[in-house]
Symmetry: C2
Subunit: 331 residues, 2 copies
């Protein structure tokens, strides 16, 4: 059974880690948002790729969910003492990743190739792919102007009121080698509990990735082909089982600005809102037990729904949720 997970930040990395605990590495591909990538201190930084890889490698800081465990801040202190920018904290071990990645990219390697090499070095089994080797920077429309994502997210602490997003250059972007094939050959796709606006949406905005996820409706739209069971294989151009796990629990995001974004965009943040967000793409939706009263409304959208405990505090939580999602996908 081949599974593709789409992932962004901390929540996405945790469910990806759960899937990696459950599936043989060759059966799991994680396609990661790169809209958050930016240049800082002259280095290329890929926060979501790093969070996913560090988490799978057991190198992530368990306190923060991002950055590295046993981290120190000597370089940061040294750079900022010289007047360097201090609004984005980079730890020493983490910095090594950015330095070596930047060197390789400048030498002509692709982001996908660099990520694969790093995963080998870190002992990460499943395939981790950037959504694209092309830069697709997320730009945030706000009440203080259009802001590059990290300027909005870190420097301005998500304080500006958002009115929309743009994924710069996405129309011309190609998926990273392997991503399209992985989706086309997947028995199941999982949208991890990542921010729908700025973690999953950029991946879905890559033209060929989206169309591979949601093949155009057939002429006989009134009688769509039944979803194949997991492991049965997917007919060419056929539908695939796709489940999303809600990043919104009781109207709140566990981390990050997803709920604030829904509100500012005029949508009440809820699991139901997330299910509606992904409407045409999903065959199933996983929401937290705290929100189980929304399950009926979600089923009414034409998808299965599973209410379970979706909060992943420890590694075992990630595994249990991954198991439940995989089991649910097959229903």
């Amino acid at each position: 059974m081949k599974v593709v997970a789409l992932a962004g930040g901390v929540g996405g990395a945790k469910l990806a880690d759960g899937l990696a605990q459950v599936l043989p590495p060759e059966d799991l591909t994680i396609v990661v948002n790169t809209g958050d990538d930016f240049e800082h201190w002259g280095l290329k930084i890929c926060p979501d790729l790093d969070t996913v890889c560090y988490t799978l490698a057991g190198l992530a800081n368990p306190e923060t969910g991002w950055g590295r465990v046993d981290e120190s801040w000597q370089v940061f202190d040294s750079v900022t003492a010289l007047g360097g920018a201090d609004w984005f904290r980079i730890g020493d071990r983490d910095l090594g990743t950015h330095i070596e990645r930047t060197r390789r990219l400048n030498a002509g390697e692709t982001l996908g190739a660099v990520t694969a090499a790093f995963c080998r070095a870190w002992g990460v089994g499943p395939r981790v792919l950037p959504m694209s080797d092309d830069p697709i920077p997320t730009m945030v429309n706000t009440d203080v102007g259009v802001l590059p994502f990290q300027e909005y997210f870190v420097h301005q602490r998500c304080e500006p009121c958002v009115s929309g997003f743009r994924f710069e250059g996405v129309e011309q972007a190609e998926p990273a080698p392997g991503a399209l094939e992985a989706i086309e050959n997947a028995d199941a796709i999982i949208f991890c509990p990542s921010n729908p606006w700025v973690s999953i949406a950029p991946i879905l905005a890559v033209p060929t990735l989206r169309s591979a996820l949601a093949p155009p409706p057939t002429a006989d739209a009134a009688a769509p082909s039944p979803l194949p069971k997991l492991g049965e294989g997917r007919p060419p151009g056929g539908r695939v089982r796709v489940a999303a796990v809600s990043p919104i629990i009781a109207g709140q995001a566990l981390k990050g600005p997803a709920a604030k974004m829904y509100t500012e965009l005029g949508i009440q943040p809820s699991a139901l809102a997330v299910a509606q967000h992904y409407l045409d793409l999903l065959s199933g939706f996983v929401l937290d037990t705290l929100d189980q009263q929304q399950a009926a409304a979600i089923r009414a959208l034409g998808m299965n729904a599973l209410a379970t405990d979706t909060v992943m505090k420890i590694k075992d939580d990630c595994k249990r949720l991954a198991e439940e999602v995989l089991q649910f996908l097959n229903k």
Copy 2:
């Protein structure tokens, strides 16, 4: 009394530190070799500038003489775990310097401006100038081919046999702003105990710097004008008191390949050989008491000679030697 010191690595930094302990900061300019500068891990690294600045700032590692005190190696371990180059060790605090310098250079600041800003941040009083804002990489001719300096010096541990040096682009290079004026207005110039071949020679190879140090002989060469006393002022185009401190003691360099280079170039390494090396430029020469039997031969070259203890182990040694050199220069 205005003093200019020409300096390269560890020995140069120590005497510069001694001079900084003795002279008011506004009276001391240190012009530093940049032939060793190179790019590594995608960053611009200026080993001699950093050694001088760290030493003056009290940030230098007293064990090694280079790099920073209280250093850690987290980034190095992180980069090399990903397959990054491990032949040039960069500590965490030191790395901060390279990151912020590279960022500023890429943003269009000159090396001189960056160095001045760093000196302000580190509380370094005297003016520290690169010999040039233009890159002038030292290339080493060896029995295994032409090697960039750090490839010879660090990667190949000075093992190849040298046959000559080239300072790439020096013919077209301009001195860094302030360097020429400092030499023209100096009451005394000191060649620090740095490697004559690869620390002092690159500075002297910058065309206008050398001619400012050694004005062309007057028509009345038989009766050169007397050297002005320190503090008396220097007549336009007139001679200036210039003293070198020998980096060779008892036929050996305290550190680095200077003696090995002399031997490979067919010259017996000695204080006398250094004095001959700088012949046309010097009014005085300082050698170690271990070599005092060479003083007469050095005086016979037409310069004053002072034999004293030139080994600088602790900060007070640097100060004492600086005082003696300044006193000697006035003779």
